[in-house]
Amino acid sequence: MNRFMAWIAFLFGATYFALPLLGMAEFSLSMRRGVYSLDAYRAVLADPQFQATFAFSVVMALFTIAFGILLVVPTAFWVRLKLPGLRPLVEFLTLLPLVIPAIVVVFGYLRLYNTSSWLPMTGTAMGTNILLMFGYAMLALPYMYRAVDTGLRAIDVATLTEAAQSLGAGWGTILAQVILPNVLPAVLSGAFLTFAIVIGEFTMAALLDRPAFGPYMQILGANKAYEPAALAVIAFAITWACMALIQLVTRFSKHARAQR
């Protein structure tokens, strides 16, 4: 009986999530009257705007991930090793992006870094891109920090660090060769989450007026019928691929089995 109820609940949930998706997928295939076709997808993929904005967002995502790793891994490591008392504070700080709306942050950026400010980053495209990357990194911070911190919890950071030091290693070597490889599954899951966030982000890119994928989806959605549905399916596929990769990475890291 209990089992039966559980199945009912599961089916209800699955329907709740799956039906709209199915409807959208069905609609995206109906561009040609009367038959299912991939016309909408073809149209989207062939759109030079799609290619340009998607490429832009992918590159931004990669830079954001690199920046996030460089920022978060040493920070989380240092906090765990030397400042364990500060952990609650740092955790709180990394959670702030969840409660401060992106739009507030962007207006803050624009105020601080506009063309007549002391550091006119919005004056050039490159400067604005860098600013956007900082914004993305901040949005991803809660996920990245949590992932890395959990990864660090699984290893004996203090003793491994001391072992490496006694063998002659400096901080750089310790971070790159001892800490990073051991939290790599965690870092990668953080990275895929970051990727998914950056690809779908709209507010910051739109307000900073960068040709990113999020604003493109919005424009397309406002002007076309079938293509936005196709685009949404593609975006979902990307997100799910990221999630699947997180699972794969966690499962197949060859030395991590001992700790699980």
């Binding site: 290893i155 003793t159 030091q165 006694s166 290693a169 001992a258």
Partner: protein
């Protein structure tokens, strides 16, 4: 100057001094144990030598050079931890090669050294395994090989055997000592296990409350403890107070039972002196070659295999007596009245003031 010299080392955390005036010279190739109860500062001393803690005062010389200002990674010190601390993402061979790689040793030389080290610890064929595929004993041997590979000047081991089960602990003990002797590496070994310290070391430092209470060979520490603490901590001991009757000749009475100590005593007649006796120095039965023979009553018998530990009541006190198991001599029955014999030279005279008087088990 000794090869490794610790001079008047002090370490305080806030207002608590956890290491006090710690001085010792360790000769090149010597194996020294720091022995003491939990919290007495053993690890702290070791970590100061390793460069993980800065002494509040004092100096550390390695090979004539003051190393206090050097960071841990500049000291050329090998360290083995209780928790193994192997790098989980590296294979056994890569773990052993880590220090060599960091030190800029070329690939070919590195490979040769790793092979040599794996042979030394008897794990020649396990180079490709990951740490999680090894037993605790194997992991600790790899940790030893990893620490030794870059040819450190000093090897530090912090309770390396504590996480292992009894059998492995004893066999690895012998193995570590053999490797240490073969390489002639200066070693400090931290343990709270007296058997470990006594059986492995050239010299033992017994620590108490952050201080080195006594430094000596295992033989000296066991047979001539200079303080009540050392006497009580190392091995089992019967201690009791006796009233001096003859200071010069060493005569005392224990509840009106006269005993012959046979040496000049530190206190005058009429005063109390602390006397101690190892359980194995007491013999069951009358032995005419021993100066002291006393009546006793058997209270408890613990058959432990090679050793039979007996508690007997002597002059109103409980004495612990150890005898070797013998096929032709079953242990005495509880409640039986016997005689015990003690040689005068086996009495230890405790110089610090008397407290208690009960044997410590």
């Amino acid at each position: 100057m000794a090869f490794l010299e610790l001079r008047n080392l002090e370490k305080s955390y806030g207002a608590t001094r956890v290491v006090k005036d710690f001085t010792i010279g360790v000769e090149e190739g010597e194996f020294i144990s720091l022995l003491g109860p939990s919290g007495c500062g053993k690890t702290t001393v070791l970590r100061m030598v390793g460069g993980f803690e800065t002494p509040s005062q004092g100096a550390i010389f390695i090979d004539g050079k003051d190393v206090v200002a050097l960071r841990a990674n500049q000291r050329a010190i090998g360290m083995v931890f209780q928790a193994y601390a192997l790098f989980p993402n590296l294979t056994v061979a890569e773990n052993v090669a880590f220090g060599l790689k960091v030190g800029g040793v070329g690939r070919a030389e590195r490979g040769a050294r790793v092979a040599e080290m794996l042979a030394l610890i008897g794990l020649r064929d396990l180079g490709d395994r990951y740490p999680f595929q090894l037993s605790g004993g194997q992991q600790q041997r790899v940790a030893l090989a990893r620490a030794l590979a870059p040819r450190p000047k000093v090897l530090l081991l912090d309770e390396p055997l504590s996480a292992l089960d009894a059998k492995i602990r004893v066999s690895l003990r012998t193995e570590i000592r053999a490797i240490q002797k073969r390489l002639g590496i200066t070693t400090i070994f931290v343990t709270h296990d007296q058997e470990e310290a006594l059986s492995m070391s050239d010299r033992v430092v017994v620590m108490n409350g952050g201080r080195a209470d006594q430094i000596g060979t295992p033989f000296e520490i066991y047979n001539a403890p200079t303080s009540r603490f050392v006497a009580g901590f190392v091995g089992t001991l019967n201690t009791f107070d006796a009233v001096v009757t003859d200071q010069a000749a060493g005569g005392v009475t224990l509840d009106d039972v006269p005993l012959v100590i046979g040496r000049r005593l530190p206190v005058a007649a009429g005063q109390t002196v602390g006397i101690a006796l190892r359980p194995e120095a007491v013999q069951l039965g009358r032995d005419p070659s021993r100066e002291v023979v006393l009546p006793a009553k058997i209270v408890e018998v613990h058959f432990m295999g090679a050793v039979v530990r007996i508690a007997a009541e002597v002059a109103g006190r409980k004495f612990t007596i150890d005898t070797f198991n013998r096929v032709d001599m079953p242990p005495p029955a509880v409640g039986k009245s016997v005689e015990i014999s003690i040689a005068a030279r086996d009495f230890l005279i405790l110089s610090d003031p008397v407290e208690g008087g009960q044997p410590r088990l």
